[in-house]
């Protein structure tokens, strides 16, 4: 019997990706190594944080003998369902690019390649691209479970056995969902829908987790409500779900019980069946979907004449060159559905941020005047950090987002100075509004004094200038005009450096304002006059303002120099 394809065919199709990865390492420049080191560092910090959080909770839960088993089981179930769901969503989105619009597909599709081999290689690529990050961050979680279990090695072996099928099943299912969508709807519509679904999915998860107020678990007073907490946090545990089988296998290993071989066999056979079913579906639908994905239909959500007219009227008062750039940036932004999904995420971030303040207990002993205002002061740092996170996505990227069309700006008589300042003034107003919402609303929830509210509002106003100036300037110093997705720009080494720079900048501002806040709180405590704290505050604000002027002008100047030297 002659096989249609062999595993060697699949490996051959994966060779370009493997070689590219090897060459990236072999020909890495210093900037690449720096980026890898930064990413590695951030990943380690996050992993340690995740491990510490889970370990602390598990040790804590372990103190309550009668609750321990059901609680850890419930936690394991939550982790499994979370992993499975995130992987499924991630695979659906990734499969679209790896299996239908990837640039190398036209070469492969025109060659005499057996479809199962193409499907297999693309499934592996999809699985890898969509799962590696989830896998990396699941390691500290499972490590925490292992170290708090009676048999750590047995648990880790079980994890190693459970993860491969738990990754393969969502990859195969995700590919099937995308395959079905692409074969029915035009590719661009599918892309828009997937972007929105992805964003809504993340928003939903954030809201679900946040509204459960998991911090209650660490509050000693709430241990009696833990049962209630977990019943509210109940995860779907249908015996038909692979995540349930995984949970049962891991729970058995955690208690050093003999492994449920049947469930393990079920997990592996389901993974194999999902891959085979996916291959069958690909035979029926793949070429049709691939063909549709090549059609260049215009995106649906792009032509909104009312919005265009509104923008044109609103920008009429501005100087012609600035107006041209502003209109171009606004229209491009509003017509790019990937930006919308990011806006959803931003909105969720702001709502969760403010929600955190709204649920702060007001009748606790620490809610004194002193602590309320101290929190208000520290909130300045948090709000600054949120602004930086928003700015790295929308301001830092504003230069690179010109993409390969940047030649139009460079060959035009528009100076780089005009170009960068236009980017600055375009980004500043929305960030200013956001900064004021973040500080005023959170201070209202905190019950901060008028002095602290005004100080926070004025400070964040200044900081906003600095953050935007650094965003535009550093965006120009570390441009990345070749990208597939805007998030790649924000996630670049320049983006990380920007986050480090803005965090340091906010820390300096907090340091400068610590003295006036100290004087103010001391004066209030002693019932003394506020004249001296006010004078110190004004002096500190003058220094902060000067610092922000420097944070605007210098990075933009350096960025301009860098862009002028840049060879396109």
């Amino acid at each position: 019997m002659k096989w249609e394809f062999t595993p060697r065919d699949v490996v051959r199709l994966l060779t370009p990706s493997i070689l590219a990865a090897r060459n990236r390492r072999r020909f890495a420049r210093r900037s690449d190594l720096l980026r890898a080191a930064l990413f590695g560092g951030v990943t380690i910090v996050f992993s340690v944080g995740i491990f510490a959080g889970f370990y602390r909770v598990l040790v804590y839960v372990g103190r309550f003998a009668e609750f321990t088993a059901p609680l850890t089981h419930q936690m394991l179930a939550t982790v499994s369902v979370f992993l499975f769901t995130v992987l499924l969503a991630s695979n659906i989105i990734t499969a679209y690019s790896t299996q239908y619009v990837s640039e190398d597909l036209s070469l492969l599709a025109s060659g005499p390649i057996p479809l199962p081999a193409l499907y297999g290689s693309r499934l592996i690529l999809t699985l890898f691209q969509s799962s590696w990050m989830v896998l990396v961050f699941s390691v500290p979680v499972y490590l925490a479970f292992a170290l708090t279990s009676s048999s750590p090695i047995r648990f880790l072996v079980a994890v190693a056995l459970v993860l491969p099928p738990l990754l393969a099943i969502p990859a195969a299912l995700g590919s099937m969902v995308t395959g079905a969508l692409v074969s029915v709807f035009p590719a661009r519509r599918v892309r828009e829908a997937l972007m929105m679904i992805g964003a809504l999915f993340v928003v939903l998860i954030v809201f679900l987790v946040r509204t459960q107020q998991p911090e209650r678990l660490l509050n000693p007073r709430s241990i009696y409500d833990v049962g209630e907490f977990f019943s509210a946090f109940r995860t779907p545990a249908s015996p038909l779900l692979p995540s349930t089988w995984a949970t049962d296998i891991l729970a058995a290993a955690r208690h050093a019980n003999s492994p449920p071989w049947f469930l393990l066999a079920l997990l592996y056979s389901t993974a194999a069946a999902a891959v085979v079913l996916g291959c069958w579906q690909a035979r029926a639908l793949y070429w049709r979907g691939f063909s549709r994905a090549q059609e260049a239909l215009p995106a649906r959500f792009t032509a909104l004449p009312m919005v265009d007219r509104f923008l044109e009227v609103m920008t009429r008062p501005f100087e012609l060159r600035f107006r041209s750039l502003l209109l171009k940036d606004l229209k491009t932004f509003l017509r790019d559905t990937t930006q919308w999904s990011q806006l959803f995420l931003l909105l969720a971030l702001v709502v969760v941020y403010l929600y955190n303040f709204s649920v702060l207990p007001s009748n606790f002993t620490f809610a004194t005047f002193y602590l309320q205002n101290l929190f208000s002061f520290l909130n300045l740092g948090l709000a600054g950090f949120v602004l930086s996170a928003v700015a790295v996505r929308f301001v830092f990227t504003s230069v690179s987002i010109e993409g390969r069309a940047f030649w139009i700006i460079r060959s035009s008589p528009l100076s780089l100075n005009e170009f960068l300042w236009s980017k600055f003034w375009t980004a500043l107003p929305p960030l200013l509004v956001l900064s004021q919402i973040l500080t005023l609303v959170s201070n209202h929830f905190l019950g901060a004094s008028r002095f602290m509210t005004v100080l926070a509002s004025v400070s964040i106003l200044f900081v906003c200038f600095g953050i935007v100036g650094m965003g535009v300037g550093m965006g120009a110093m570390f441009p990345r005009f070749r990208f597939e997705n805007v998030t790649q720009i924000a996630g670049s080494s320049g983006g990380l450096l920007y986050m480090i720079a803005t965090s340091s900048f906010i820390a300096i501002v907090l340091f400068l304002e610590a003295l006036p806040v100290y004087f103010y709180l001391s004066a209030e405590y002693r019932g003394a006059s506020l004249e001296r704290p006010l004078l110190v505050t004004i002096a500190a604000l003058v220094v902060v303002a000067a610092l922000n002027v420097a944070a605007v002008i210098l990075p933009i100047r350096w960025g301009q120099k860098r862009l002028a030297e840049l060879e396109l």
Binding site: A303, R321, R404, S411, E567
Partner: protein, 251 residues
Amino acid sequence: MIQLVELSKHYGKHVAVDRLSLEVKPGELFGFLGPNGAGKTTTIKMIAGLLHPTAGHILLAGHDLHREPQKAKSVLGFIPDRPFLYEKLSATEFLRFVAGIYGLNGGRMERRIDELLELVELREFGANLIESFSHGMKQRLVMAASFIHDPKVLVVDEPMVGLDPKGARLIKNMFRERCNKGETIFMSTHTLEVAQAMCDRIGIISRGRLIALGSMDDLQRQAKSEIPALEPIFLKLTGGGSFREIDGDSV
């Protein structure tokens, strides 16, 4: 109108353009030819202000590109070989944007945009987003954009790539008309028939150095070629003449 003075470009130890000097006069259509990797695109990118010369000067309508970049670029129109554009803008919006950054607006500009879209046969697609355009349509849109401010100097890199015969004919006519009006065109191309038919003078660059310059007659003399066609002259001058013709039987 275009003056290149001792222009050089080095990439580390590699010399892409080596002390290139030439002058293109007003109303002249100048063809810039050379084998792959000879330094054509590097030269063109330097003239367009996208690359910095390692040494030498570029003067456009008398303005030094390094010392007076804004003035020099305001007389320049550039058509790159690959039309990367703002995909989320419509064709009309894109032209309006380009007009804006050249400081042009108003009713006259709107009429000019209509005329240019008509000229490049994209009028019916004016409201469509660029992302839905084919390569050839994008190339024609870039041409319209490069004409919007009536540049004195037009620098074109491979204008015929991706164009259908009708589009190619359109470009040839447009270029000739613009030169007749006194505009200077500096054009790089691999299509030797086009260069031979259109260009007043031709410069041939090889390994970064200008190896031949002049009209067709001048080049024929320099190459000591008996055939008055650009292809054998080009192959002889660039060392490609030693390539053996391959016909169907010998393969």
